[in-house]
């Protein structure tokens, strides 16, 4: 298990957003988290790289282990944690910089200044998201000139440049059309060979298509966690069935 939570609870002030979550996420799989709006799935995702720390009044109890290390321990290096656990957001948030500088941004922060090394990182990262052959002659152009799908790929490449282990994806395709969504999904299936992917999605068909394991959340609780095959053919809990069959949500 690369990620494990035990009795995880999270409160926004007096609001109990995550309730006693026990979860084990395996390496090199795509784990999908599904559930209706407000069920806590994005909150859960943000726990894994401590993004919730930025929100005032957040209180967390229970354990969250990544590679067997407690990420809330005082000795946990937050910057290292966020390098190891990168995040892709709903909107492709390319920086207003060149394509090259977007990818080189992270490695430069980590002290890499040698041009040849940076160039190698940019090439490898763009190639990993199947963009290098398309963009190799336009690396100095602004990243903002790319299509939404290309920008989302660029954002994924920017994460890969700092060599993470886990990719958190929060509705990564919700701003994309179906063709672009299909391409990003295919990319995720390639990337899982090297990375562990945790994706939050409103689109349960997407979870059905690409996830190996799926967790269904409702009102802050993890109702069911199982293989995608089990969840989508024979879920154990009636609430999961009602949600995936469109009876509510």
């Amino acid at each position: 298990m690369i990620v494990k939570t035990a009795h995880l609870n999270l409160y926004y002030g007096s609001f109990h957003a995550l309730k006693d979550i026990d979860l084990s996420i395996k390496e090199n799989l795509i784990t999908g988290i599904i559930g209706p709006s407000g069920c806590g799935k994005s909150t859960l995702l943000r726990v894994f790289n401590r993004m919730n720390d930025l929100i005032q009044g957040v209180r967390i109890t229970g354990a969250v282990l990544i590679d067997r290390e407690d990420i809330h321990s005082p000795i946990c290096d937050l910057i290292l944690l966020r390098k190891k656990v990168g995040m892709v957001f709903q909107r492709p948030n390319a920086f207003p910089l060149s394509i090259f500088d977007n990818i080189a941004y992270g490695p430069r922060i980590w002290g890499i200044t040698d041009k040849k090394t940076l160039r190698g990182i940019v090439e490898r990262s763009l190639a990993a998201v199947d963009l290098f052959s398309v963009l190799k002659d336009r690396l100095k152009k602004s990243a903002l000139s790319l299509s939404a799908e290309e920008r989302q790929r660029l954002c994924i490449a920017r994460l890969l440049a700092v060599e993470p282990e886990i990719l958190l994806m929060d509705e990564p395709c919700s701003a994309l059309d179906p063709i672009a969504t299909g391409k990003i999904e295919e990319l995720m299936l390639v990337l899982k060979q090297k990375y562990t992917i945790i994706i939050v999605t409103h689109n349960m068909q997407q979870a059905a298509r690409i996830a190996d394991e799926v967790g269904f959340m409702l009102l802050g609780e993890l109702i069911e966690f199982d293989s995608a095959k089990k969840i989508f053919t024979n879920p154990s809990d009636k609430r999961t069935f009602d949600y995936i069959s469109g009876r509510f949500g």
């Binding site: 299909g182 295919e186 390639v190 068909q205 059905a208 298509r209 989508f232 053919t233």
Partner: protein, 221 residues
């Protein structure tokens, strides 16, 4: 980038082709067992049937999972629905091969009768139909599938002729009825295998061209 889903469909196709090859093997061995009155070979057919049964469950499981997870449409949907039906047909063919071997133990006790050449001609035709139906599926070839369907009448005629010959034989030599009845059942099983082969070809045409030809559906439109 190729669709990951296409790879999954290819895996289903590969499994179905492996299953079809086992069915072919079981029919061949069943008829050899019958010809040579070989009980050991008859029991091998039962073993192969267990493997065919396991394939049936696995393929059905794969198809259900892919339908549930990918909501396929168009050709992909027709392919999976067609495979589910062919899977069932192939499994039934395996059962017919076992039925054929059911006569072997009984025949050992009986005197040999004059060989019924029609049965062996039926065997050749049915096996060819099966092989061509599998080829038509492999190559998504509706034209070839259509030709196989048309050959079903030939097998039906062979079955009728075999029945006539055997009935006459039994009337003429009632003491050989015990030897002739199992052969009647063999002819019946072979004819059913040919029918199931035709079903496979109807599904190939449905997958390739979205045409339903069974029960003369197109003529009734």
């Amino acid at each position: 980038m190729d669709r990951h889903f296409d790879e999954e469909l290819q895996k289903v196709k590969k499994n179905l082709l492996e299953m079809a090859s086992l069915v072919d093997e079981s029919i061949t061995k069943a008829l050899e067992a019958l010809k040579n009155r070989d009980l050991k070979m008859a029991s091998e057919v039962k073993e192969i049937d267990h493997r065919i049964d396991r394939f049936e469950i696995a393929i059905e499981d794969q198809c259900i999972e892919l339908i549930a997870r990918h909501q396929p449409v168009g050709t992909d949907l027709r392919f999976l629905i067609g495979v589910i039906k062919m899977n069932n047909d192939l499994e039934r063919m395996g059962d017919h091969a076992v039925n054929i071997t059911g006569s072997v133990a009984f025949l050992i006790e009986q005197p040999r009768i004059k060989p019924v050449s029609n049965i062996w001609s039926m065997v050749v035709e049915v096996k060819k139909m099966l092989n061509d139906s599998v080829k038509s599926f492999m190559n998504n070839d509706a034209e070839m599938a259509q030709q196989v369907c048309e050959r079903d009448n030939v097998v039906d005629e062979m079955r009728d002729e075999t029945m006539r010959i055997l009935l006459t034989y039994m009337l003429e030599q009632p003491d050989k009825i015990g030897s002739a009845i199992p052969l009647l059942l063999v002819a019946k099983n072979l004819e059913r295998i040919a029918d199931l082969t035709t079903n496979i070809c109807e599904d190939v045409i449905y997958i390739a061209q979205a045409r339903v030809i069974k029960h003369h559906a197109e003529e009734q439109k």
